[in-house]
Symmetry: C2
Subunit: 346 residues, 2 copies
Amino acid sequence: MIKPGTGPSMRSVALSAGVSVATVSNVLNGRATVGPEIVERVQAAVERLGYVRDNRASRLRSGDSRLAGVIVPDLTNPMFATFVSTLEQLARSDGYDLVAASSRNDPAEEAERLRSLRAWRPAGLIVLPCDGALAERLPVGLMTPLVVADRIPDAALNDLVAVDNAAAAATVVRHLGAGGCRDCLVVGTSLAISNVRERWEGAVSAAGEMALGLIEVGFDAPAPEALAERLRGAARPGAVFCLDHQTTLTTYLLLEEIGLVVGRDVELASFDEMEWMRLVSPGITAVRQPVEEMADCAWSLLRRRIDGDARPPQTRRLRCAVTFRGSTPRYTPSPLRGADQITTGG
Amino acid sequence: MIKPGTGPSMRSVALSAGVSVATVSNVLNGRATVGPEIVERVQAAVERLGYVRDNRASRLRSGDSRLAGVIVPDLTNPMFATFVSTLEQLARSDGYDLVAASSRNDPAEEAERLRSLRAWRPAGLIVLPCDGALAERLPVGLMTPLVVADRIPDAALNDLVAVDNAAAAATVVRHLGAGGCRDCLVVGTSLAISNVRERWEGAVSAAGEMALGLIEVGFDAPAPEALAERLRGAARPGAVFCLDHQTTLTTYLLLEEIGLVVGRDVELASFDEMEWMRLVSPGITAVRQPVEEMADCAWSLLRRRIDGDARPPQTRRLRCAVTFRGSTPRYTPSPLRGADQITTGG
DNA sequence: ATCGGTTAATGAAACGTTTCACCACCGGCT
DNA sequence: AGCCGGTGGTGAAACGTTTCATTAACCGAT
């Protein structure tokens, strides 16, 4: 068991350098009022003892926390991993430590993480909520600045960063329609997720003459029977538009199992691009979300709040890019792999 | 700016409940010496004020840290993301907070992260080093238990968890050989990475009659000319064995660009499996590393150290599984997609 | 020599907890 | 009545910092 009092403290350093504790503190914090010879003595002592300041005491005494927290629904999701990674880099370059937690898509866990993060008194929090009811789970008197990202809570009283879901979904559907598709099946996890809802609404808004169907497959189901039946039946849709990458994968495997050829028997488009979508052939038409930009935006909003900005909550919508590939062949000028055309949605 | 003294403290709770600070502490820590009626009063006050204990003070006073740190080379790598995610779950279920940091494959950043983590006085650290020289970067008198995972430092004086690289690589090469392959090109980032070195050595040990070539492509190069030349030339190898997923991707795209058909013109195998490898056709034969098991193992080793185990450092090698797919067709009993055969390497 | 003014260093209080020694009380025993 | 042990509660010290008021030293000007 590592004993509590283990390791060198400022006292040891002070003793070893023959100065007072206050002076050591001044040196460590780069205050100007210390003579150069003393600075050197202190630094030598620090080096010699391998001293590292104890943040618990430091941050406790000076209310300045220099710690930020982020909660994502799932760290394994490459999109969220990229978000956290980008955020960490930004935070560090501003001198903040970042502690990341995963809610595993469980509201209860999210609330728990929120609580345990708060115990460290972070200067700010960034939350990617796992459902719309985040507001209910927020501690009553949360004094910490909070930025909500990716998914929009039902009651929004905080800064918000999200992607322009509706516009991007509309772009996809419009192009499907322009190519002559008359019947598109939209597949999403659940309309309870704001992203899914907005994407669906965006699709509807751009449907025009096209008949749009919707299937909610939930979260953990491998390939729900409802979807399989719809694809196997005679009334098979001309296109399937999946509203997140997990759903796209499920659908892709299901199509293969049924024996339908993507891009020929049925068109396929995905919201949320993954690496494999450009590797399979034909490639899958997909909406790429600007994750790094989102992290960037979230961090700068948070920084502003930490620095005392008291303006009313802001909402930022970021534009997505759509990449058309062979899975929606009728609208692809060049059906060749690697010759992707990028269209900005919105 | 959020003021230091903001928010309710134990004092406020004590005041509000009409008891002493010590009693509040006792209630919060579930000590038995408090009467039921008082417990209720305190809990009511906590609820009413929305009080959350300040970990900085709490952990400072009681030397008990209940915080663990993990440093990975790259959070965006799904393997490391899974590692962190698994670890977080384990840590939390043991009552530990986990703070994760990424070294972005940069030794300097790794050292920096190590330092800033140490400032929080974690009870233990898990490091996936970005190169073999970790030992040089470790603080001199590091009192914190440390478990090194995935990559093996040159000088190993800590608990170690890694994958049985050599055995798995040997399994792959043996099967290539058994299928009649006479000439295999091995592609890796750099032999400076212990994993890559071990995999190469494993391949060599199982080569037998087979001629083995090696190309080191480095880390950020898209598709180095040396590799392209080797594949384009007349002396093109019968198989390419890539030692990590990034390299596999590079090679896969390069092969496609050159116009070689994987599984027919050239066989392809990968160490480190990614989702897309089972989605493309033909599927890519790949070694799957037991990431969750590795995290599990690392955590239990760390827990043991935290709890005072003083036995000499242990090394744990975990077995990988190899999945043969269409990219190495000659050894695949059933060349059909979805009919993967799993062989345990080692 | 004395005085103000600046500079360099320090002592001690405070941050919000935990912990330990201590106290007040009570009921049961001789 | 006096004593004893147990129960339930508290005051105050301590954890390792930061910070502020204070002191000590020195310099140039009177």
